[in-house]
Amino acid sequence: MDTAVAEEETPQAPATEAFEPTIVAFVCNWCTYTAADLAGTSRLVQRPNVRLVRMMCTGMVDPKYVIKALLGGADAVLISGCHPGDCHYINGNYKARRRVKLLNDILDQFGIDRRRLKLTWVGASEGNEFAETVNDLIEEIRELGPIETRDMMVL
């Protein structure tokens, strides 16, 4: 499957020095969490760096959660929910979309690279898409390096 990580980078042994980012993902119960289940059922291999927090809707992801995660040791945050128009709660994902836009500006002020907050839409049936998103994001953040603020602030 195209989503599997390339064979050679899975064994961690030789590359222990390589930076392994920690990523917190706020995913909505109806779409992306289900997609993650499906990725599991389909055994689509993912790097273990992403840790899910199940939310009922991306609309309930309080900006504080994102900041807390980034200041608490996560190198990036992923917010993922239903495709625009498909929200289980009518329009929670639109609200999330607006919020992420605003959050980006706040992140700047915190001195956090805005690439560390990512919003995606992954529908319930898109197990592939989920695994790909996870693996791509890990790759991106790995290149970006550890979060600058890791030990700077406590929230």
Binding site: Q12, T22, V24, Y33, P48, V53, G59, M60, K95
Partner: protein
């Protein structure tokens, strides 16, 4: 009361234990704050597995439980029930997933074990902040609404009506029957379609428990399971249903001819029309767009000649509100327009037909009176049928439409029967899929009638010397074939209705990747949806033939009836709560709530959530600038704690200072860590007192 947490790590046979070292995870969990017992076990969901939890709650006085196993979408309820059996509030349990999100997707066992530890730590931290919640029972209104009156909707409505419950059957079109009303014969029995559907349609019109509303559409759905308030828009018919006798005089007198949608564009109708003489109801409608009276204030012939005075040009749109306990969606499918597949020549060549057009050609009350004729009025001397047009095609629809092979066989037989056995028929197919009861037998029968089957998707249809030529590779022979025929029939894909997105929005259901309405679970919940009290019936969920659509519809009816018969439903307590001590009355939440569940209490100057209407989406909580709005079971403290657990370092290179050293002594399957006098450690971010219940 001090927290006493029990942690249960499931092996799921080798599903988890094959990757994750479950004993190690349990050992690790045993060292986490407030954890009194931590076990790993082969199958937590089994009876003995659940008994472990029940026993521990009772004997060790656990007041919080973490189960780490499969996805909570699978077994959260199972473990909640187990807790409840032991007298623990089910919301004091956190079910977390180390299978789908960990053992199944991680390659390296070491990494999988570490990840599982993070996941368990998060759950332990979170559950420490859980609060008791109580679901409420609310009454279920006895009436049911069925939307769409194709064969699926009809079946569902009749089933429900039989039980004595009232059904509101809402149909968008002027009459009921859906696509089945367009057919003459149905596979595999070659029953006359009308003979099996007309009695059902008539039964609908005569059933006192069915309130049929045709030419109507649902525009708004309010409320929640058991208590839906539905607004239905009724389009004006301009003919009074209560007076019209269906004599049909008006249709004869009307001078305006229009291309008929029901005839799939190969026949005409009048500006006042009905789909067929057997239509139910058989009251005609006036098409306001083409009626001379309504557009230009001329003509008026139907009014003049109607013997009962049923014509009423002054009718206007109206809307009614209905209150129902549950809703069955049976809005059906469309067939694909093959024009974009330019190479097949549809729309360019006269005698390239879609399957539905062929159904009308073959129908006794269709435009040719049931004769299979070319555009020039002569019968075809040879026919090609192209399967999988737009189905199983990466450019259009990836899925199989599930009916085309069978109706193609039906056409083979009908052409042989009606036009003559000497007419050669060529089926261009990729695979024959004749999977139903009696279907393979039908295939054999048609093969015996001398039909030619060529395996290969045609490349194009050309016109040469007044003949159509189908060009394909016969993949069995490995040869290019060019087959000249008089008529080509395209078996076009079944696809989601054009307005599916709108329907999905109004009823709050999701769509699957292929665009059809999404069921709750592909195997175990094929008729329910993620929205409680909204069920699916028939092809709105995906391609089906009539037997499957009818069976599915009866399933939907049974689910709706189960709700109605029980009379009550329990409402999830995981709603929003606005703490009146904190709310500043800014009203931001009120506009954000998509369900109008928040009202402003003028006296106290605070916003108040109506829990019956709140769906717990958290739009309000995510935005509330004062933090007054919180979702129960997903409140700030719980999420913060979960995050802390997730981000806690799990393995010592550098042992976390505040962590209790994990115990290393290990007894088989169980491990009891003596209660530590760890007092509730005040956390800076959880300074807010746990939300108060009103």
């Amino acid at each position: 009361m001090a927290n006493r947490i029990g942690v249960y790590v499931c092996h799921c046979g080798t599903n988890i234990a094959g990757k994750v070292d479950c004993s190690e995870v349990a050992r690790y969990a045993g060292g986490l704050r407030d954890v009194v017992v931590s076990r790993d076990y082969q199958f937590m969901c089994s009876d003995p597995g659940q008994d472990l939890i029940v026993e521990d709650i009772r004997s060790l006085g656990l007041n919080r439980v973490v189960v780490a196993s499969c996805s909570p979408r699978l077994h959260e309820k199972t473990f909640q029930k187990a807790c409840a059996r032991a007298g623990l509030n089910p919301y004091m349990m956190q079910h977390t997933c180390i299978r789908e999100h960990c053992s199944w997707v991680t390659k390296d066992p070491e990494e999988a074990t570490r990840k599982a530890e993070h996941i368990v730590a998060a759950a332990v931290r979170r559950v420490a902040r859980h609060q008791e919640l109580f679901s409420r029972e609310v009454g279920v209104l006895p009436d049911v609404m069925v939307v769409g009156a194709g064969i699926a909707g009809i079946q569902a409505a009749l089933d429900i009506a039989k039980s004595g419950h009232m059904v509101h059957l809402i149909e968008k079109g002027p009459s009921i029957g859906g696509h089945m009303a367009q057919f003459d014969k149905t596979f595999p029995t070659l029953d006359c379609a009308a003979c099996i559907s007309t009695p059902k349609m008539v039964a609908v019109s005569q059933e006192p428990n069915i309130h049929l509303m045709t030419y109507s559409e649902v525009t708004e759905v309010d409320g929640f399971v058991g208590n839906y308030k539905v607004t239905v828009r009724r389009k004006p018919r301009y003919v009074r249903e209560d007076i019209c006798t269906g004599c049909g005089t008006c249709l004869e007198k009307c001078p305006t001819k229009v291309i008929s949608e029901f005839e799939e564009g190969i026949g005409m109708r009048k500006a006042i029309y009905r789909n067929s003489p057997q239509s139910v109801p058989n009251t005609p409608v006036i098409d306001a767009e083409h009626c001379l009276k309504l557009t230009k204030d001329k003509c008026g012939a139907c009014e003049k000649f109607c013997p009962t005075g049923a014509i009423d040009y002054t009718q206007t749109e109206s809307s009614v509100t209905l209150e129902v306990g549950s809703i069955v969606l049976a809005t059906g499918y469309d067939t694909m327009d093959p024009s974009p597949i330019r190479e097949y020549g549809y729309g360019r060549f006269d005698n390239v037909y879609t399957a539905l057009q062929f159904e009308r050609l073959n129908n006794a009350v269709g435009p040719t009176g049931g004769k299979i004729l070319l555009k020039d009025g002569t019968p075809p001397e040879s026919v090609a049928i192209i399967h999988c047009v737009g189905s199983r095609d990466a450019n259009y629809h990836q899925y199989c439409s599930r009916v085309c092979c069978m109706y193609a066989l039906k056409y083979d037989h009908l052409i042989k029967d009606k036009v003559g056995h000497s007419v050669p028929i060529y089926n261009f197919y990729m695979d024959m899929r004749c999977f139903g009861k009696g279907y393979e037998e039908f295939y054999e029968r048609v093969q015996g009638e001398g039909v030619t089957f060529i395996r290969g998707r045609p490349a194009e249809v050309l016109e040469e010397d007044g003949k159509l030529v189908v060009v394909a590779e016969d993949t069995l022979l490995g040869e290019i074939v060019r087959v000249p025929v008089d008529m080509v029939i395209l078996c076009t894909a079944m696809e989601p209705r054009k307005d599916t997105a709108e329907v999905a929005r109004v009823f709050g259901v999701s769509r699957s990747q292929d665009g059809f309405l999404l069921e709750e679970h592909p195997k175990l919940g094929p008729v329910s949806t993620a929205t409680d009290g909204v069920f699916l019936a028939g092809t709105c969920q995906g391609p089906k033939d009539i037997p499957d659509a009818v069976a599915h519809a009866s399933g939907g009816a049974a689910q709706a009836l189960a709700l109605a018969a029980k009379g009550t439903v329990s409402i999830s307590p995981t709603t929003s709560y606005i703490n009146p001590d904190i709310c500043v009355g800014c009203k931001v939440c009120i506009d954000l709530c998509a369900y109008s569940a928040i009202e402003f209490d003028e006296r106290r100057q605070v916003s108040v959530v109506n829990e019956a209407m709140c769906k717990g989406c958290g739009s309000c909580a995510g935005y509330c600038p004062s933090g007054a709005a919180q979702i129960k079971h997903f409140n700030e403290t719980q999420v913060f704690n979960e995050l802390e657990g997730l981000l806690m370092p799990v393995k010592p290179p550098a042992p976390a200072p505040e962590k209790i050293e994990p115990q290393t002594a290990r007894r088989p399957a169980a491990e009891v860590v003596p209660e530590e006098a760890a007092p509730e450690e005040a956390m800076p971010e959880s300074a807010e007192p746990a939300e108060a219940e009103v």
